[in-house]
Amino acid sequence: MSGKVIICRCNDVTADEIEALIDSGVTDIEEIKRLLRIGMGPCQGRTCIPLVISILARKTGKRPEEIPLPKTRVPIRPVRVGVLAGGDDE
C-alpha cells in the first residue's frame, strides 16, 4: 500500500500517516486512534478500524485477533440532542 490511500474517510487519514506513526514507535491502537483521530468520526470507526487493525497486524507481526478493538463509545448511532434533552420546547 502506498500513496494517498485513505483509511479513515470520516477524518481523512491516509495509510501513509498510519504507517509513519507505527514506524515512530506508537503501536497501541488506542494511541493511534487518538493521535490521528481515526474512528472518531460520525461512523465511529466502523469503516476504518478493521483496516487499521490489519495494517497494525502486518507491521507488528501480530495476528489481527491479538489486537484488541478500541473501546466503542455510546451512543452507537448518532442521536439528535433535542430528543435527549427532552423536546424542542423545553
Binding site: N11, S24, G25, V26, D28, E30, E31, R34, L35, R37, M40, P42, Q44, R73, V74, P75, P78, V79, R80, V81, G82, L84, A85, G86, D88, E90
Partner: protein, 388 residues
C-alpha cells in the same frame, strides 16, 4: 545523576519525566496501561488562569506562559489556542463574587474582565444571552490537544534518554527502613525490579495504592475518585463556541468547541462516585442532564447529533487542590488533580522536577498550599474552582 522512577504515564508523569531529563536526571517512567489511558485522554482540554485563590491563579498564570511557548519548545504541533474562558452569572450576588475574582486575578496579571451579554454573544455566536446577567472573560485562557501534548512530551523525553515503558505496572517497592531502594514492576507477566534513588507518584486516581506500597497510610492523601463525563456533538462550523462557556450556578455545566474537529464538548458536575478504578461506563442520566444545560446555553445545539459520550476520573482531595510535594525523603507525589491536571501540567511538572533534582524551584508555586500532609494536619484550603 540520580535514577528517578516516575510512576504514571498521564500528562503529569510524562511531562515531569521530560523536565527531569532536561535537568540531566536518569529517568524510568512506568505506565501500567497505555500512555494517557487514565484521566488525561478523557479530558475536555481546557486551560484557564481564572481561579479564585492566589496559589492557583499564580500557578496557572505561569502555566499559561509555558503553554504559550510549549509548541516551540517541544517542536510539535499541540494545537494550543487562546480562545478564552467565559464564566456566566445568573444573579447579582454572583456578579459581586465574579468582581472579587477579577480583582484577585488582575492583581497577579491575569487580564480577566467583566463583560455584558452583548459582548458575550459576539464571542459565542450560539449563546442564548437571556438567562445571564454578565460574564467574566479572559481571552488568554484556552485549550490544547491532550493527545498531541502528551506525545510531544513523550517523544522529547525519549529523545533525551527517558526509559518510558507502557503496559508495565509498578507492583511494589524494596525498602531499607524508610528508604526506597528499588521499584518492582510487572510487564508481560514477568516481575522484575530496578534500583532507584527517588520515586514520584504521579498516578492520580491510583495514588493511594502507590502511597501504601511506600509504607504510608492509604489515606495520607485522601483521594476520592468520581466519574466525570463528557458528551460530544457532531462537527459544527468553527467559531460557534470556541471558548469554554460555563455558568457555575448551573451545576458547573459547560460547553467548549473541540479545537480539532469543531464538535461541541458538553460537561457538567453531574457526578457519580466511581464503583472502582475500572468503572468508566457512561451513564444515561448524565447524557440527558448535560444536554438540558447545553441546550439552555446554546439552543441551536438541539438540532445537532450526539456522536460520543465517555467517562473518566476526577481524582479529588477534600479541598479539590492537588497534593504536590515530598512525602518521604526519596518519595514524592503529584496527584489529586480534580478537573484541572491537564492545564497545570507544564508548571507542575517543572516545579516537581526542580524540587526532586535541586530541592527548590523557580516556578511560582506555593508549596504550603499544595502540601500533601495538609490533610493529615486537618488544614483544608478553600475549594479550588473545579471545572475543566
Amino acid at each position: 545523576m540520580s535514577k528517578i522512577a516516575v510512576i504514571g504515564g498521564g500528562i503529569i508523569g510524562v511531562a515531569t519525566a521530560y523536565e527531569l531529563a532536561k535537568l540531566g536526571e536518569d529517568v524510568i517512567l512506568f505506565e501500567k496501561n497505555y500512555f494517557g489511558s487514565g484521566s488525561t485522554f478523557r479530558c475536555a482540554s481546557g486551560i484557564r488562569a481564572q481561579f479564585t485563590d492566589e496559589a492557583n491563579v499564580r500557578l496557572m498564570k505561569y502555566a499559561v506562559e509555558r503553554w504559550e511557548r510549549l509548541e516551540d519548545e517541544l517542536g510539535f504541533d499541540i494545537n494550543f489556542r487562546q480562545t478564552g474562558y467565559l464564566f456566566l452569572a445568573t444573579s447579582e450576588e454572583e456578579i459581586e463574587a465574579f468582581k472579587a475574582n477579577i480583582r484577585l486575578q488582575n492583581r497577579f496579571g491575569v487580564p480577566t474582565r467583566l463583560i455584558d451579554m452583548d459582548e458575550a454573544k459576539e464571542i459565542v455566536p450560539i449563546l442564548n444571552p437571556e438567562p445571564f446577567l454578565a460574564g467574566t472573560w479572559n481571552p488568554r485562557d484556552g485549550k490544547a490537544n491532550p493527545f498531541k501534548t502528551l506525545f510531544a512530551y513523550l517523544f522529547r523525553a525519549r529523545e533525551m534518554g527517558v526509559d518510558a515503558r507502557e503496559h508495565t505496572e509498578v507492583i511494589g517497592f524494596e525498602r531499607e527502613g524508610d528508604e526506597i531502594t528499588a521499584v518492582r514492576y510487572r510487564s508481560r507477566g514477568k516481575a522484575e525490579s530496578v534500583k532507584v534513588d527517588a520515586v514520584l507518584n504521579a498516578t492520580n486516581a491510583w495514588a493511594p495504592t502507590i502511597n501504601e506500597m511506600a509504607g504510608l497510610k492509604r489515606g495520607i492523601v485522601p483521594i476520592k475518585v468520581y466519574k466525570h463525563q463528557l458528551v460530544k456533538t457532531e462537527l459544527l462550523e468553527k467559531g460557534q463556541a470556541e471558548p469554554l462557556v460555563c455558568p457555575p450556578s448551573w451545576n458547573d455545566a459547560y460547553i467548549i468547541q473541540d479545537g480539532e474537529d469543531g464538535g461541541i464538548i458538553c460537561g457538567a458536575g453531574i457526578e457519580h462516585e466511581a464503583r472502582g478504578l475500572n468503572d468508566v461506563e457512561p451513564t444515561y442520566d448524565f447524557l440527558r442532564g448535560v444536554l438540558r444545560y447545553a441546550v439552555m446555553m446554546a439552543p441551536p445545539l438541539k438540532y445537532a447529533h450526539v456522536i460520543r459520550q465517555w467517562a473518566g476520573f476526577y481524582a479529588k482531595t477534600p479541598d479539590r487542590n492537588p497534593a504536590i510535594g515530598k512525602l518521604l525523603e526519596d518519595f514524592y507525589i503529584s496527584a489529586g488533580f480534580s478537573g484541572h491536571g491537564f492545564m497545570m501540567a507544564p508548571a507542575v511538572a517543572q516545579a516537581m522536577a526542580e524540587l526532586i533534582a535541586r530541592g527548590r524551584s523557580k516556578v511560582p508555586i506555593d508549596w504550603e498550599w499544595y502540601d500533601p500532609y495538609r490533610f493529615e494536619r486537618g488544614e483544608l484550603h478553600t475549594s479550588a474552582f473545579q471545572i475543566g
